[in-house]
């Protein structure tokens, strides 16, 4: 009977697979990518966002929609806004609906977040948004976290509006100030 001699495992044999395993492990550490919602089939209504998507983060974007026409008048994109509301004179003002989205676009991708990713603050308990008008002699906000109206108090002027999203009294997100034009 012959006994097979087993050679001890060399360092080099261990080292090479270790390097490969390390490379693969490091590959997974690419940060937390924004969640993506599945694309709805053409012609089907957009599904309600999942609970995971309806979460306020520091990167959550805002979409401001004319609540009568449904037109998007402005949407935030990282450090700036696209568009600006024009508030007509009169007590009716400009009725607006506030939407939020966690679809984080690249700095050079200026498209509006996909509508399937939008959610309202109603979906989140204990959350509220403070709408702060910079010049309170020029305009007034009347509304809640889901919507309301901007009313012009001084025609032919302009001011800024900030949106501060809070859970209770904790600020979760503050978008950059939005220019508004008053007629």
């Amino acid at each position: 009977m012959t006994l097979s001699r087993r050679r001890p495992i060399s360092f080099r044999r261990l080292a090479l697979p270790s390097v490969l395993a390390f490379a693969l492990a490091a590959c997974g550490g690419g940060g937390d990518a924004a969640p993506t919602a599945p694309s709805p089939a053409p012609g089907t209504p957009a599904p309600a966002p999942s609970l995971d998507l309806a979460t306020i983060r520091t990167t959550t974007e805002m979409i401001v929609e004319d609540s009568i026409t449904g037109a998007v008048v402005a949407y935030s994109h990282r450090d700036h806004w696209h568009g600006f509301p024009v508030v007509p004179s009169g007590a009716a003002g400009l009725p607006l609906r506030l939407w939020f989205s966690n679809e984080l676009r690249d700095a050079d991708d200026h498209d509006i977040p996909a509508r399937r990713s939008w959610f309202r603050l109603d979906a989140l308990r204990d959350h509220n948004v403070r709408v702060v008008v910079a010049d309170t002699t020029a305009a007034r906000w009347e509304g809640t976290g889901s919507g309301g109206r901007l009313v012009s108090l001084r025609a032919n002027s302009a001011t800024l509006v900030s949106f501060v999203i809070r859970r209770g009294t904790t600020t979760l997100n503050e978008r950059p100030p939005l220019n508004i034009v008053l007629r």
Partner: protein
């Protein structure tokens, strides 16, 4: 002996190829960081490419003021000049860069960037100042001197 040597070499080659393939297929390669923007000057062009004004050694502007139409927009392209005098566009580089405008009277002028250009909008007639910042993720790589801008109605 020779067979063992060849087998060891084959193992090394396989490991190198496998590692390279794993990294190449990786969505987030290790430590890919875009360099800071190194620029000497900044140019403001209209969308036809005509030079509207530029900084001189990034201390002053070639022209004293920029006019923005009231209730309208001025489309501009922001370009940079490197230390060899070569003009370049940030849009051709990393997505980590963006152009910001710091406006003294922020209610009067809005900057809306788009890829390779942007719009300056005037909402309140009068004069204010702005400066251009080249933003690199969480800090500015370049800040221009203050530029006086005048918002006035378009002349027919």
């Amino acid at each position: 002996m020779a067979w063992a040597f060849l087998r060891r070499r084959a193992l090394v080659v396989a490991a190198v190829i496998g590692g390279s393939a794993a990294l190449a297929g990786c969505e987030h390669p290790i430590a890919v960081v875009s360099p800071h923007v190194e620029a000497q000057d900044l140019l403001v062009r209209d969308t036809s490419g005509r030079l509207l004004l530029r900084t001189i050694d990034n201390t002053t502007w070639s022209d004293g003021t920029l006019e923005i139409p009231l209730d309208d927009s001025l489309p501009v392209m922001i370009r940079l000049v490197d230390f060899r005098g070569q003009e370049f566009d940030l849009a051709d580089r990393s997505r980590e860069y963006s152009i910001r405008m710091q406006v003294e009277n922020a209610a009067a002028v809005q900057w809306e960037p788009r890829r390779a250009m942007g719009w300056l909008r005037g909402f309140v007639p009068g004069t204010t100042r702005l400066r251009v910042q080249v933003w690199h993720t969480d800090h500015p790589d370049f800040i221009s001197p203050w530029l006086t801008v005048t918002v006035r109605p378009r002349t027919p």
